[in-house]
């Protein structure tokens, strides 16, 4: 085809040269016949001509063949007064260089207004476009991280934190990996244990999930906030697939390398891997895996591994870098969650300690009161003992003097009642003596054994030795050992008094609803048990009017120590006395 140049008088090239030769924008002029009349240096460089005048005289198709931007098609329309523009057009120039161009075309009019040709501008925006793309990617990454950070800040629960993290890794609106696996390191950082995994199990399931998510058109934030999405069954199955799997962080695997070098790794294929690394790839059924360490305060907290098992999309280094940034955020969230857990734990411990302290203070006050009462009763008892000695002593003397018979009966009554009063005094004095001992931690099982030994000596082996079933663990109570021993002894003695010969006493200790429980049970014939139960109800029942003084005092001792007592039936229906005392868990001073 032969192109005809229009007469130079129609287009003032000199005018164009004077205005556009040094412009950084590429300028060109095509006459009505489609022949290039003018090309400035910038346009020549963009299209790939060695010099500007090389293009002059060439047909428009020469440019079009390079930039392929529909300019030829629109040529006639421009000559008819329309404009043309093509933005960010991607092409390869005459020298084979990739370029992104903005191309504009408009009619070139003569001073008469007649259209003499097409005036075009070509601008190379390759660098600008690349920077724009980089910027958009950075904004997207920041947006992802921001949304994940926001979701993470909504919870301090470690399980929730981990689920949010992996959802962010796998969500299409997030990092877009197909599957993600999270391993948490142990305290010493020697190994990591499979904790959680997110992703579909197979392509079919992936299709269903992704299609559903696509139709929902949720933002990443909405997706992360959706509890049910994080809890879907495929995630559960994938998690169970790695749950409990321990991976060493000190061997030659890529997990260890990532942990050691504190950087992400992109693993392609299995050929160049160590056998341990190959085993990991095989177990995860993966050909291309991104592995990044989670590091907090210089300490390895875990590993995130992610792949595109379903789509087979190759993982690129920038994705690994983004995953690493993500892992760094994860470290902060994990640290924060653990700190929160520690805080909760310490708060609970403090609350428990405060409670124990309050209970201890109350108990100390009770025991102190008991001590004061002990001193008082001791002094009263001693004051009473002398008059009783005198009354009873003279009655004995009169009786032995052989007075008249009518007085003998009265004297015997005085002697008997004096002895009874002296017995009461004996109990009271035992109690007050016990009150003077300091409070301390007491091994309750030992106390029961010692008291049982005292019982044997007091009863001079008139009864069979009690059968003992003591708790295997140490049972500690806080209090006055003498007072408590006195109280236990009174219960045992009272029980012995009411026991028939056919009965066998059974003693047991244990923990019941946070209290130390001591039981005195009776075994024997049905008749003997019924008899024991009847008398026990009188002695240990609620009606204090029928209780022995010793039991009242012993009961008060137990109450002062925060305990109580009563009658109950065993699982076998046998009657038994129970005594309960608060369990001492340490932390108090004697």
């Amino acid at each position: 085809m032969e192109y005809v140049r229009t007469p130079s008088t129609e287009i003032d090239v000199t005018f164009l040269k004077s205005h556009f030769d040094n412009s950084p924008l590429g300028f060109f002029m095509i006459n009505r016949c489609g022949v290039i009349e003018y090309f400035n240096a910038s346009a020549a460089a963009i299209i790939g001509f060695g010099r500007a005048d090389e293009a002059c005289g060439a047909p428009v198709q020469d440019i079009e063949s390079v930039i392929n931007c529909d300019l030829s098609d629109c040529f006639n329309a421009i000559l008819n007064g329309q404009t043309f523009q093509k933005k960010e057009h991607r092409c390869t120039n005459r020298l084979g260089h990739f370029a992104i161009l903005n191309v504009f075309g408009s009619p070139y009019r003569m001073p008469t207004g007649e259209i003499a040709g097409v005036l075009g501008i070509v601008q190379d925006v390759t660098d600008i476009s690349k920077r724009k793309a980089d910027l958009e990617e950075a904004i997207l990454e920041l947006s992802i991280l921001s949304q994940v950070s926001e979701a993470l800040s909504s919870t301090a629960d470690l399980d929730e934190v981990l689920k949010i993290i992996l959802t962010g890794v796998t969500a299409n609106q997030g990092l877009g990996f197909n599957r993600a696996f999270l391993f948490l390191a142990n305290e010493s950082g020697e190994y990591a244990e499979g904790q959680l995994a997110v992703g579909p199990r197979n392509p079919d399931e992936a299709g269903q999930i992704w299609s559903r998510l696509d139709s929902q058109k949720k933002t990443l934030k909405e997706l992360l906030d959706d509890y049910s999405e994080r809890e879907n069954s495929s995630n559960y199955t994938l998690s169970s697939f790695i749950a409990g799997w321990r991976v060493s962080l000190t061997d030659d695997s890529f997990f260890s390398r990532a942990a050691r070098e504190r950087c992400g790794i992109n693993i392609h294929g299995k050929d160049d891997l160590s056998s341990t690394s190959r085993d990991i790839m095989t177990r995860l059924n993966s050909e291309n895996l991104a592995v990044v360490p989670i590091v907090g305060k210089g300490k390895i907290l875990g590993i995130i591994a992610a792949d595109n098992r379903i789509t087979g999309k190759r993982i690129i280094s920038s994705e690994v870098e983004l995953l690493q940034i993500f892992a760094n955020h994860t470290a902060v969230a994990i640290e924060r969650s653990r700190l929160y857990d520690n805080l909760l734990e310490h708060t609970e411990e403090l609350e428990e300690m405060n409670k124990q302290l309050a209970e201890s203070q109350e108990q100390i006050i009770r025991v102190e009161k008991m001590s004061v009462i002990g001193e008082l009763t001791s002094s009263i008892a001693h004051e009473l003992r002398n008059p009783l000695t005198v009354i009873g002593g003279f009655a004995n003397l009169m009786l032995s003097s052989g007075g008249n018979d009518s007085n003998t009966e009265y004297l015997n009554i005085i002697i008997s009642e004096t002895k009874r009063a002296e017995t009461v005094l004996h109990h009271v004095l035992d109690f007050s003596k016990a009150s003077r001992t300091k409070t301390q931690e007491i091994d309750f099982n030992r106390l029961v054994v010692q008291t049982s030994g005292l019982l044997a000596s007091k009863t001079r082996n008139r009864h069979r030795t009690p059968f003992m079933r003591l708790a295997s663990e140490k049972l500690a109570v806080w209090g006055n050992p003498d007072q408590l021993q006195h109280a236990l002894l009174q219960f045992l003695l009272a029980a012995l008094d009411e026991m028939t010969d056919e009965c066998l006493m059974e003693l047991s200790t244990g923990i019941h609803e946070g209290m130390i429980k001591f039981t005195i049970g009776f075994n024997g014939t049905e008749e003997s048990r019924a008899k024991v139960l009847k008398t026990m109800k009188q002695v240990f029942g609620n009606s204090t009017g029928t209780q022995k003084l010793s039991i009242i005092v012993a009961g008060e001792t137990l109450r002062y120590h925060g305990g109580n007592y009563g009658l109950e039936s065993s699982e076998e229906g046998l009657p038994r006395i129970y005594i309960e005392l608060p369990q001492y868990k340490g932390g108090q001073d004697a």
């Binding site: 003992r385 000695t389 002593g393 003279f394 003397l397 003097s401």
Partner: protein, 117 residues
Amino acid sequence: MHRLLIVDDEDHIRKLYKDYLSREGYEVVTAASADEALKIAAEIGLDLVVLDIELEETTGLEVLKKIKEQYPALPVILNSAYSTYKSDFHTWVADAYVVKSSDIVPLKEKIKELVKV
């Protein structure tokens, strides 16, 4: 006849023991205070002392100490309403410890035992 000294600040106790033990065949002298007891012990020969611990101006333990210093062979029975003194090692120098009771038989038997020795 054996001579006993009863030391107690309570009149009725002194009277009870004197009447009771006299009828048992002992010669009984009594003292209401530590000074009086020590004076009697210095003036007349005694075979045994029954000594209360809680006296008005001093304790029987002071008297016990002085008696044992001056008359080491003289048996002393501590006789108190308090059983707690048994654990006080100062009382261990006494020959016996009998808690006061309307039943005087244990005291009588202890006296009989010590006087024989």
